[in-house]
């Protein structure tokens, strides 16, 4: 697979603070990679280094095979945090401005990207009248203008309403399916889980996990299973199961129990409940989510930061 992004030992220091600490990874052609981490983990700094907005203290990065972004800029689209536009220009004129800067982007393409992000019909309105979500979508439209081979998106769903989040998610998904390589930073884990095939988790400037979502989740599961239970008598169910040494942990809300146990112990649950005469309405195995993975990785990092190496 051709590497679209290659990062090797990339480091950024601001005085004594090391924002990004010798990180290395590659992103292959056509991959949709989620770049995750808590606030201040170094996500935006990494993205800014990739896009030539700040200079790395040390290390190397190549985008589309080029060390200097200037040689690849016409094939890279980006949205960094909240995109900036001239408020006194209309959405269409802001895109025209960007199209002029890119060069070789015609008027037809401007309307295509406006349609792509659902802003057709509002293109003549000044950006000052746009909602946060509309600006975000305009940012995505601008990033799409040059028909990029690589899209770098930093928190593209920031400030969007639920409809906007779904629209952006679908757009990113469709773009990923069309072969565009996407490097996506977001704090909305469920969103990343739905669009990304691979995740890189960064914490305190170091990479804590890097792999396909499926692999990382199965590694996290490690022979464990998550079961969801809805029964006629939740109190008694909880009482019975908590007495079992193999039921590792469980949480409950008003309507259900969530039980984590070894995969081979799943078959032990039903006989106990049936034997006690408890009606079972639901007994379902749930998958570990990206959130479980993320929290597990980041919390592990908090507890054991000094001992951690680069990659998980």
């Amino acid at each position: 697979m051709t590497a679209v992004i290659e990062v090797e030992g990339l480091t950024k220091r601001y005085g004594r603070l090391t924002a990004v600490d010798h990180i290395s990874f590659t992103v292959g052609h056509g991959e949709v990679v989620g770049f995750l981490g808590p606030n201040g983990a170094g996500k935006t700094t990494t993205i800014r280094m990739l896009l030539g907005l700040i200079k790395p203290t040390s290390g190397r990065k190549r985008v589309l095979g080029e060390e200097r972004l200037s040689r690849a800029a016409s094939k890279v689209g980006s949205v960094i945090e909240e995109p900036s536009f001239y408020p006194y220009l209309s959405g269409r004129d802001n895109l025209r401005l960007a199209a002029t800067l890119y060069g070789g982007v015609d008027e037809k393409r401007i309307y295509q990207v406006l349609e792509l992000v659902g802003l057709l019909g509002r293109e003549r309105d000044r950006v000052s009248k746009y909602s946060q979500g509309m600006r975000q979508r305009l940012g995505l439209a601008q990033a799409m203008l040059p028909r990029p081979e690589l899209l770098v998106l930093d928190e593209p769903t920031n400030g969007l309403d639920p409809d906007g989040v779904v629209e952006i998610r679908n757009t990113i998904k469709a773009l990923g399916q069309s072969g565009v390589t996407i490097f996506l930073s977001s704090h909305l884990l469920s969103e990343v889980e739905r669009v990304a095939s691979r995740v890189i988790i960064i914490e305190k400037g170091k990479i804590k996990a890097d792999g396909s979502v499926k692999d990382l989740l199965s590694r996290l599961a490690g022979g464990k299973a998550v079961m969801k239970l809805r029964t006629g008598d939740l109190d008694r169910t909880a009482q019975l199961l908590s007495a079992q040494p193999w039921a590792k942990e469980f949480t409950r809300d008003d309507t259900s129990l969530r039980l984590i146990l070894a995969a081979q112990d799943v078959e032990r649950v039903m006989p106990i409940l049936v034997g006690a005469g408890i009606k079972i309405y639901e007994f379902d195995q749930e998958d570990f989510s990206l959130e479980d993975l993320y929290l597990g990785t980041v919390q592990e990092g908090h507890h054991n930061h000094a001992a951690q190496g680069g990659r998980a």
Partner: protein
């Protein structure tokens, strides 16, 4: 939405080989045409300014002989020029900082020097358009008022249109020093409002400061033969050298030497300020 995505698989449009600096200039002109401030400047410099000069300043002619241009005195004065330069530079450069435009524009135009000097060139060209229009408008307004006011008193400069435009062209060229100073100040001062205020007042304040300093020095030490040095220092100040146009159209004849000196001083300021800005811009990590 899917239809739009499908277009991605189409063959990419062949990119034109237009240098980035020209793409930046074109983009800045596109921006300027849609900015209200541009039209405010156009109305101010093309209509209100020339009219005010003619109507309020009275005649500069006696017995049918023009003594000086109403229009040149006003529009080419450094206060008017400073206002124009400052508003243009604010539009193409100073406003971009708080609007956090760099992070949007730099990935598109990663050639920092071309982006920076594209903006400088755009500012200078916009100023040229403003000056050219202002010159034409001054001529027309003068002629119009002359035609409407019979008698010996003439309001217009009664020189050829060419010499009037030469004066404006000279003034345009002479504004490059202040343009450079505004770009540098706009980079160094983060707040646009503070930048505009300081940059508008700075040349005059510096001039006053230098004059006061020289006066104090002469008064305190009474140095012999210092007058020449003082004159040379005063001759290198920005403000008096901004009025190149006035040296080019004079009743006593064009003062090419003074105009050349003013242009050289202005160019010197431009080289120093823009050079310094270029170094700062290249070294900077663009955080905002």
């Amino acid at each position: 939405m899917t239809a739009g995505v499908e277009t991605l698989s189409q063959v990419a449009v062949a990119r034109t080989r237009v240098p980035a600096i020209w793409r930046v200039v074109r983009a800045e002109f596109l921006k300027a045409l849609r900015k209200r401030r541009t039209w405010f400047l156009v109305i101010l410099y093309f209509i209100i300014g020339p009219l005010l000069q003619v109507l309020l300043r009275g005649t500069r002619a006696l017995d049918g002989v023009a003594l000086a241009s109403n229009n040149l005195n006003g529009i080419l004065g450094n206060l008017w020029v400073r206002l124009a330069v400052l508003l243009v530079v604010t539009m193409v450069f100073i406003e971009d900082r708080p609007a956090r435009m760099w992070k949007s524009v730099l990935p598109i135009v990663p050639w920092r020097s071309q982006l920076l000097f594209g903006k400088v060139l755009a500012g200078f060209l916009l100023l040229g358009v403003l000056m050219l229009g202002s010159g034409l408008s001054s001529y027309l307004v003068g002629e119009l008022v002359d035609a409407l006011t019979p008698g010996q008193v003439r309001f217009s400069v009664r020189t050829s249109l060419v010499s009037l435009l030469t004066a404006y062209a000279g003034q345009w060229a002479g504004s490059i020093g202040y343009l450079g100073l505004c770009f540098l100040g706009g980079w160094l001062i983060t707040s646009p409002l503070v930048a505009v205020l300081i940059l508008y007042l700075l040349p005059g304040l510096l001039e006053q400061g230098v004059n006061s300093g020289l006066g104090w020095y002469v008064g305190r030490f009474k140095p012999e033969g210092f007058d020449q040095v003082a004159e040379t220092i005063k001759g290198l100040l920005l403000t008096p050298n901004m009025e190149v146009g006035r040296y080019l159209v004079r009743i006593s004849g064009t003062n090419w030497s003074a105009a050349g000196h003013a242009l050289l001083v202005s160019a010197g300021y431009a080289v120093i300020c823009l050079g310094l800005l270029w170094l700062l811009f290249r070294r900077a990590d663009i955080h905002n």
